[in-house]
């Protein structure tokens, strides 16, 4: 079916867009969005929040059947292994963490995902206007937030940068007054992609269209009449102390993989309770996280666990 952005009348004054990533807890299939967990976190306010979901798995499926990317993905994973180390377990971790890297190899794929996200954001903007005006309220008093996970953080970062800088998308923060209440990136691989993608830059087509590689990382902003206006005043990064996709391994921060954008609010979630104390344990937990089916007992990359574990923080950010 052709992509149609989700549209709805907002029940209240807030909307949240969920952007999925990778792994079974975040595969983008309808049941994989952690809606129940999010609604539980929002409590009584959940009924008054419009929750949108954008699923771009169908675009991944096009590419998977149209072409064979294995050679490029292998090159990316090799570059990642060199960063991690030479142990067998490093290779295993690279194998799973590397799955977030492959969109950089295909301009068609990443630009198609960008267009799907742009169309969804534009529809949300339209729904905001219609919902507010139908009640005689100023649409600018209604608020939009984005909660993204894993690879969804990369696509969100790319689309917000494009939206902030390109007039024809009509989503610039100053010229179009499209500012977001908050942007929450969970287990963001943006820096990991920047580092590993940089190591094989010669093989990456159209780097100029990749904000993650082409420019220094920054909160997406527009400069209008000399004034820099960010797309949000609350750009938050949440990652786990044992989540390699989010730039941590066994409680230690990997500077080359951890997204640390100037101005971001950073939260590192302690994950000692997951009982992962070896690289082998990390590899095993990631293998479960990226596989399909079955319970994820100690998945350091679980989207649901991030939302559940940061309930109080999320309520504060999303609802105030």
């Amino acid at each position: 079916m052709p992509f149609q952005p989700q549209t709805m009348v907002w029940p209240g004054t807030r909307a949240i867009l969920l952007v999925h990533g990778i792994g079974d807890a975040s595969t983008g299939k309808d049941n994989a969005f952690p809606l129940d967990v999010l609604e539980e976190v929002l409590g009584d306010d959940a009924a008054s929040v419009a929750i949108y979901r954008v699923n771009y798995d169908f675009i991944n499926d096009w590419l998977a059947t149209k072409v064979q990317f294995q050679a490029g993905i292998t090159a990316l994973k090799t570059a990642l292994k060199l960063k991690l180390g030479t142990e067998d377990t490093d290779a295993t971790i690279a194998e799973y963490a590397g799955d977030v890297l492959w969109p950089v190899l295909s301009p068609d794929l990443r630009l198609a995902v960008r267009d799907a996200l742009l169309a969804q954001l534009e529809q949300i903007q339209l729904d905001r206007g219609e919902s507010a005006l139908s009640r005689g309220v100023d649409p600018l008093e209604y608020e939009i937030s984005i909660v993204a996970h894993s690879l969804g953080c990369f696509h969100t970062y790319e689309v917000l940068t494009a939206a902030a800088q390109e007039p024809s998308h009509a989503l610039r923060p100053a010229s179009d007054l499209f500012t977001l209440h908050s942007v929450i990136l969970m287990a963001s691989p943006v820096q990991l992609i920047r580092t590993v993608g940089g190591a094989i830059a010669a093989f990456i087509p159209d780097k100029g269209t990749l904000a993650t590689l082409a420019q220094p990382l920054a909160i997406p902003s527009e400069t209008r009449k000399g004034k820099v206006v960010p797309c949000t005043t609350d750009f938050m990064s949440i990652t786990g102390s044992h989540d390699p996709v989010g730039g941590h391994l066994l409680g230690k921060r990997l500077d080359w993989a951890y997204m640390d954008i100037p101005g971001q609010h950073s939260v590192i979630v302690p994950q000692q309770a997951l009982n992962i104390d070896t690289k082998a344990g990390t590899a095993q937990a990631l293998a479960k996280a990226f596989a399909t089916g079955g319970p994820k007992v100690n998945d350091p990359h679980s989207w649901s666990a991030y939302i559940e574990g940061q309930a109080k923080l999320l309520r504060g950010v999303l609802l105030t």
């Binding site: 096009w62 068609d108 799907a116 339209l126 649409p139 009509a170 179009d176």
Partner: protein
């Protein structure tokens, strides 16, 4: 003779039926009716009136500070008397222009001047509705008039957002045409050639605002051609190598699934064709005395012409016998 033609028609029909699982390209319109109706009830003159009210307030000019000159300039563009009777919807070219306006402007195409007015409206909104100025405007012109400003300016901007959304959806539909279920599958050499073409040959590259290129390089081994070697119409398999270009047909009219796709396919292609003089389903094209000619395809249906000893005209259907190989 009749039986020969029947055989040929059966072969052609089998070739013609496209996979049933492909998805349709046409998109259902999104529910923009309320916005369109409202936009059709507001005129450019209405926008001009409220803009003049806003800029007549001294406190607003003070709050705008350096932006006040831009706001005045944009208001002057909005207050174009030739467009005063146009509805906001008519500005986008998707609704009829008023009779009086047509009499003066002669056209309701989405002309530069109309685009300029919509752009001025967006700029004016960005100035007078920015944080820090918004509250001043409301206090200066009163709640009632401010509600009018909000309704008019947000409606105009929503039309701009609708156009942006539709452009994104059109690009996405074009990506689906080129990469999705009705597209041709690529083998490994084609993946590499198209990767190279997208990097180094102008016209093959996808662009953020233009979407995908309609062009694709073809370099494939096609074991599924059929020719007819005698007057009885007995079909004989022929293997061939194809080198050429494929052109994707973007737009709602093409890319139909099923039998309709025979008439309105996703792509056309043309190029050179080489086949051995030996017939067979898995014959190396350069084995024996090879012959070259040309081929064209309309969607999945391909017709080739090679001056061979046995069978000059070849027909086939686009498919991959072994995924990513041929």
């Amino acid at each position: 003779m009749t039986r020969d033609w029947t055989k040929r028609l059966v072969v052609a029909a089998l070739l013609a039926v496209a996979p049933a699982s492909v998805s349709a390209q046409a998109t259902e319109p999104l529910p923009d009716a309320t916005l369109r109706n409202r936009a059709d009830s507001i005129t450019v003159g209405d926008y001009c009136g409220v803009a003049q009210d806003v800029l007549s307030a001294r406190t607003v000019i003070q709050a705008l500070a350096a932006d006040s000159s831009d706001a005045r300039a944009n208001a002057a563009i909005i207050c174009n008397p030739l467009l005063a009777k146009f509805s906001l919807l008519a500005l986008t070219g998707t609704a009829p222009a008023p009779f009086e306006a047509v009499a003066r402007v002669h056209t309701n195409a989405y002309a530069e001047v109309q685009l300029g007015v919509l752009d001025a409206m967006s700029q004016f909104r960005a100035d007078v509705r920015q944080p820090g100025v918004r509250d001043v405007v409301r206090d200066a012109i009163g709640t009632q008039r401010n509600a009018e400003l909000v309704r008019i300016s947000e409606t105009a901007h929503s039309l701009v957002v609708v156009m942006a959304r539709d452009r994104a959806l059109t690009r996405l539909a074009n990506y689906e045409r080129k990469l999705g279920p009705t597209s041709a599958r690529l083998n490994l050499p084609e993946v590499l050639l198209n990767y190279a073409a997208q990097r180094w040959i102008p016209g093959f590259k996808a662009t953020p605002l233009g979407g995908p290129s309609p062009w694709e390089v073809v370099a494939s081994y096609a074991p599924g051609y059929i020719t007819f070697v005698d007057r009885r119409g007995t079909p004989i398999p022929v293997s061939a190598a194809e080198f050429g270009l494929r052109f994707y047909l973007f737009g709602d009219h093409f890319g139909k699934p099923g039998p309709e796709g025979v008439v309105l396919p996703s792509y056309v292609a043309a190029g050179v064709l080489t086949a051995s003089d030996l017939n067979g389903a898995l014959v190396w094209p350069w084995k024996g005395r090879d012959r070259s000619g040309g081929y064209v395809s309309w969607g999945a249906i391909k017709v080739g012409y090679i001056k061979r000893d046995r069978g000059t005209w070849l027909v086939s259907k686009q498919f991959q016998a072994v995924p990513f190989v041929f």
